[in-house]
């Protein structure tokens, strides 16, 4: 027990070496003014700016706006993806009808939709939500489809033997068995949404964390740009962690079956 702990501390310590050296290096460079200080910002200044932005409440306001956009787009896109994926997995015919069109659409690089969606929806909230929904839709669709498609035939036969109705079959057998795959879909979809909200806010927004970064650049305040980049990275990571925790608490039964495979 003690051994494991000391090893863990060692891993953390080694992992911290590079970041700390990097911070010292940049601080020294800035002190010696080797490079223009407008571009390379000493880390302590970034921290000060970060605290300032938090104190004025600016940062949390930008975050709140971005997050609500992500949530709207994610819920819209992921639920549509979930429904389409379920229908496609349950009915062979619907799969044959819908799949070619969807796979053609999914070939379009996501950022390529921006000009089209901006012409259709303007530069307001609708554009951002629809754009994010596009990104969340495909990973959710694919993983739902594969999750339900991959449910073991024997489970379905047992359910047949017990004469489950199709609703009950879906609720009691198919969805729980597809849950790990569904979670993969949710994680990918949320990560994609977070990436796209930043992208959408770079081109058309007056608020939000993506806008904060652009704004900092326009003012040539690199400290704001760095704060923005760090914050979006950190929040993306937090979302991922939260989902992971939620997943492992929801699927305690999943571990043993995973090792059985």
């Amino acid at each position: 027990m003690f051994f494991i702990k000391s090893e863990k501390i060692e891993t953390v310590a080694i992992g911290l070496i590079v970041p700390i050296l990097l911070v010292i290096f940049i601080e020294v460079i800035c002190k010696l003014e080797v490079v223009p200080c407008q571009i390379v910002i000493p880390p302590h200044k970034v921290v000060i700016t970060f605290l300032e932005l938090i104190n004025t409440g600016e940062l949390s306001e930008h975050f709140r706006i971005s997050f609500s956009r992500v949530l709207a787009g994610f819920v819209l896109g992921a639920s549509l993806g979930f429904i389409t994926g379920t229908v496609m997995a349950l009915s062979k015919r619907s799969e044959r009808i819908v799949a070619p069109l969807l796979s053609a659409l999914s070939q379009v690089p996501l950022f390529g939709w921006i000009p089209l969606l901006m012409l259709w929806f303007g530069i307001g909230e609708t554009f951002k939500v629809v754009f994010i929904a596009f990104g969340a839709f495909f990973p959710m669709l694919i993983n739902t489809f594969e999750g339900i498609h991959g449910v073991s035939k024997s489970y379905i036969e047992v359910a047949r033997a017990f004469e489950f109705s199709s609703v009950k079959l879906l609720k009691k057998v198919l969805l729980p068995a597809a849950l790990p795959s569904l979670f993969t879909g949710i994680k990918l979809a949320l990560g994609m949404s977070w990436m796209l909200v930043v992208g959408a806010e770079l081109v058309a927004a007056g608020e939000g964390v993506g806008y904060l970064i652009v704004w900092g650049r326009q003012l040539f305040q690199m400290d704001i740009v760095f704060v923005g980049i760090a914050v979006v990275g950190f929040i993306g990571y937090l979302m991922f962690l939260t989902l992971n925790m939620f997943e492992s608490s929801l699927m305690r039964w999943h571990r043993p079956t995973a090792t059985n495979k």
Partner: protein, 260 residues
């Protein structure tokens, strides 16, 4: 005979939805149900395509984008390959680099664009932007590939008294290469997505993304649709080629599977 009927049926089913959308689109635009400038008819799109083909701007921009994506892809994936190999081979470097690599990886890719504009206003920033995105999948897959080299192979190497260098080139590199190829395929498709993003976020260097972006400003929806179809097509072609390459170069993976 019957199977032929079923096949025909399947083709019809696949064509069903696109056909309906196409017909609805055609009639809606020719009877002006929908505003024509927002929903150009198929004919408009074709004539728009013809227009940009004729004045040469289509291939000019496509060419710029493809060259740009190749530059970014090569820069990112070669760097990623070396990082992945190093992290896979050395336990110490893995512990040293992985945390900061993972921390940087959390940043959503578009967020780098404003920062890179300050690095350089020219082509460099766009190439670097693509390279950042192209690097991650190659690092991760190469690392996995090196980590998953089978132990018996390494032991055989030990029996033959391979030097470290020799066992690297004869065992680690060949058996991790299929994983690297998967990484390269993912990396190329991310690069293609990012080149469009780069051309929208960092304009004034030409390229198909910028063509679409300026068409949006002039409300030329037909050309936007042309652009979307073009980038989807090129993306598909790239992915297809990479899949073929993956299969071609990883024949030893199949034999490995069979030997198990």
């Amino acid at each position: 005979m019957k199977s032929k009927n079923i096949q025909l049926m399947h083709v019809l089913e696949a064509a069903f939805l696109p056909a309906i959308i196409f017909v609805a689109w055609f009639f809606a635009s020719s009877y002006d149900v929908l505003p024509r400038n927002l929903f150009p008819s198929p004919v408009d799109v074709l004539s728009g395509f013809y227009e940009v083909l004729n004045d040469g701007s289509f291939f000019y921009n496509l060419n710029i984008s493809v060259i740009r994506v190749l530059k970014g892809f090569l820069l990112g994936s070669i760097t990623g390959f070396f990082i992945g190999i190093t992290l896979g081979v050395s336990r110490f470097l893995e512990k040293l680099i992985t945390p900061i690599f993972n921390a940087i990886r959390q940043v959503p890719l578009p967020a780098w664009a404003p920062l890179l504009v300050l690095v350089s206003l020219g082509e460099m920033s766009r190439v670097l932007f693509i390279a950042i995105g192209a690097c991650y999948p190659v690092v991760l897959n190469t690392f996995e590939g090196v980590k998953n080299v089978r132990h018996d192979y390494m032991e055989v190497g030990k029996v033959f008294k391979f030097s470290k260098v020799k066992s690297f080139f004869k065992i680690i590199l060949p058996s991790s290469f299929p994983a690297t190829l998967t990484g390269l395929r993912l990396s190329l498709s991310i690069s293609w997505m990012l080149v469009v993003a780069a051309e929208i976020f960092m304009t004034s260097g030409g390229g198909i993304g910028e063509m679409m972006w300026s068409c949006r400003e002039f409300s030329r929806m037909d050309l936007v649709v042309v652009g979307i179809i073009a980038i989807a097509f090129v993306g598909f072609a790239m992915n297809f080629t990479m899949r073929k390459l993956e299969r071609l170069f990883s024949f030893w993976r199949i034999t490995l599977k069979q030997s198990r």
